[in-house]
Amino acid sequence: MALDLARWQFGVITVYHFLFVPLTIGLSLLVAMMQTAWVRTGDERWLRMTKFWGKLFLINFAMGVVTGIVQEFQFGMNWSDYSRFVGDIFGAPLAIEGLLAFFLESTFLGLWIFGWGRLSPRVHLATIWLAAIGTVLSAYFILAANSWMQHPVGSVVNPVTGRAELTDFGAVLTNSTAVGAFTHTITAAFLSAGMFMLGISAWHLARKNETRVFRSSLRMALVTVLVAGVGVVVTGDLQAKLMTEQQPMKMAAAEALWTTSSPASFSLFTIGSLDGSQEVWSVRVPKVLSFMATGDPEGTVEGINDVQRDSEARFGPGDYTPNVPIAYWTFRVMVGFGALALLVALAGAWLQRGGRVPASRWFTYAALAGIGFPVVANSVGWIFTEMGRQPWVVYGTLRTADGVSPSVGPASVATSMIVFTLLYGVLAVVEVTLLVRYARKGPDPLPPPDEAAPSEDAPRPLAVAY
């Protein structure tokens, strides 16, 4: 009971946190680029873009920061036995993330927000870049920690203490799984930020608001989405091959492939029996799964029953199969919504060719809906990654059921679950309302330039304040 509640809570809190993270990472870098363009060219259009997208970025950033604190605390709160088991390895990247990345991000973002008019343009530009670098660094360290859970390297389990111990920190940081997860996550973050900009820009362009600002924004968004989209596909492919090798059960569950096949087909759509173990009807593409998983269209992909048998031989009797329908559908929804986002961007690229302004109603609606596509793909992607690893919390090493806090009863977990759900629900409404209203309002006019430099003691308010 406490275990199920703790798992639900981890899912709710983590998916919620990750609604904001990709936008933070992607937008911080895109805003830094806009400001760079402004400092380089002096073109006011870039300054207005920096301020407009910067404001939306900050509304989103606040939520990412405050929900991030919960992430660090909940390992100890709900998963104390997990923390005892993995602390020697998992704690280090977490601590380094704070020291190296969060200080950088928070301090320099404070300087960026309040530094307008106080810092020289170049120093002020440097602050947003440093904050953006902080967001990317934090992604690397937390993904290295998560990747160790997917593919534990550089560590042994000490038979005396029964705990995992670090033997090679370099191996944890250069884990192939971490490289795959990091590149996939960062490209997905750019794709998310690009779709966010695309939707809002398309909406304003359809109304002929601030055409100069939003045409540039649209083009920047389209380039971002198309480049990032290629990156997402390439890194996703890399990850699929790593997953086949490192977590064959997850790959088999993603396809609901019960028996080992060579070549294996990929189903676009399946209707199965209620427990997911029998296929009733499906639409299949031959050899695609073999190619995705191994790079060879004739390659062998292990089936769930075979991995289950192997796992029983290795780890003893037990159920080593994750929830197959969830793995199967989250995988498809992730790929599908990622592809839909790319389609919207391709349509946008076509509609704005040769200086045209895309004004068709259906494109505006598609672009607005498109803001949500990467959000869905990101969320189900993580649900797939984490649920596809079950019953393990550290793959092949520690079961999720053995990680939960023994001293925390179901009443406590239920209390925190209710509190967080209510709080997060209210904050989501506030945040989305603010984002929508500020997005609709469009960029502010620039303040009139300081004429004839006022004397030193004349009152001159701060450029930015809470």
Binding site: L58, E72, G76, G91, S407, V430, R437, P461, A465
Partner: protein, 347 residues
Amino acid sequence: MFGLALTDIWFLLIALLWTGYFVLEGFDFGVGALLGVLGRDETDRRRVVNTIGPLWDGNEVWLIVAGGATFAAFPEWYASLFSGFYLALLIVLVALIGRGVAFEYRGKVDDDRWRRRWDAVIIGCSAVPALLWGVAFANIVAGVPLDADHEYTGTFVTLLTPYALLGGLTTLLVFLVHGAVFVSLKTDGDLRLRAHRLALRLGLVAVPVAGGFLVWTQLAHGKGWTLVSVALAAGALVGAVLLVGRGREGWAFTLTAVTIVATTVTLFGSLYPDVLPSSTDPAGTLTTTNAASTPYTLGIMTWVALAVTPIVLAYQAWSYWVFRRRLTRDDIPAATGLPPREPVVRQ
């Protein structure tokens, strides 16, 4: 390394991180909690909030790093503490979420009702963790019921002992004084004078409460040398209260910071070499050795900390330097928030 055991180095570093957290977030908790008392009109409320505007988020990272460092260096401590203090930490988390969002969002809509709501969030969500951190650390020093597996066997109410509540009142009052002194240091005119008077009045309550807590700590848990830090903490607090009344805010703020440093040193000094004593089963007590990670992990972490911490301190100090100026009423720009309601005209 340096003639110290790695486990001792990490005990010191974690003490340092908590000290930094309490000194820095201590004043922004105080400033937030006093927002209603000090801010008589909207311009002054914005002045109060803006004294900590660029700083509070960087201050809070000290907590994140303290938590992460505890996880990495003393996993058993992290696991027992965070699962044991479950509901207390839940309240702290809710408060930190509330105030963080409130700072960012209070000015986003130009509407008095909107701002009043967020102000209430800032005040409550600053005062509550200021109190709870004292309760938590008093419990850590005094010990909590832990079984032989280092699992907490008490409830939330177990944590509310008289000693712990006195510890909570101490951090709350000291942070309030620290925050009031900070406002007087960063503003001018009438607001500055009101902050003086408030610091003085709060100080008169804080001195006996903090003094009582420090003496209790020394008598029940202290070591010989912690007498020095107890005396320093109490003396600095008295000095701060005396100086703030004479307009010497810089010195007063230094002294409230010294009070917080010396109090934290007293607590960690009294705790050492335990990190979480068991009040029920001596076998359950966690120490710097039985809670620690392997020497390999601690060694790597030590090098990272040595390389990165000076850089962090340098740029964070620089950010304080950039925002060193006092905020006058003329500094506060016109409100830039959205109008209260959605525009009626739609396209």
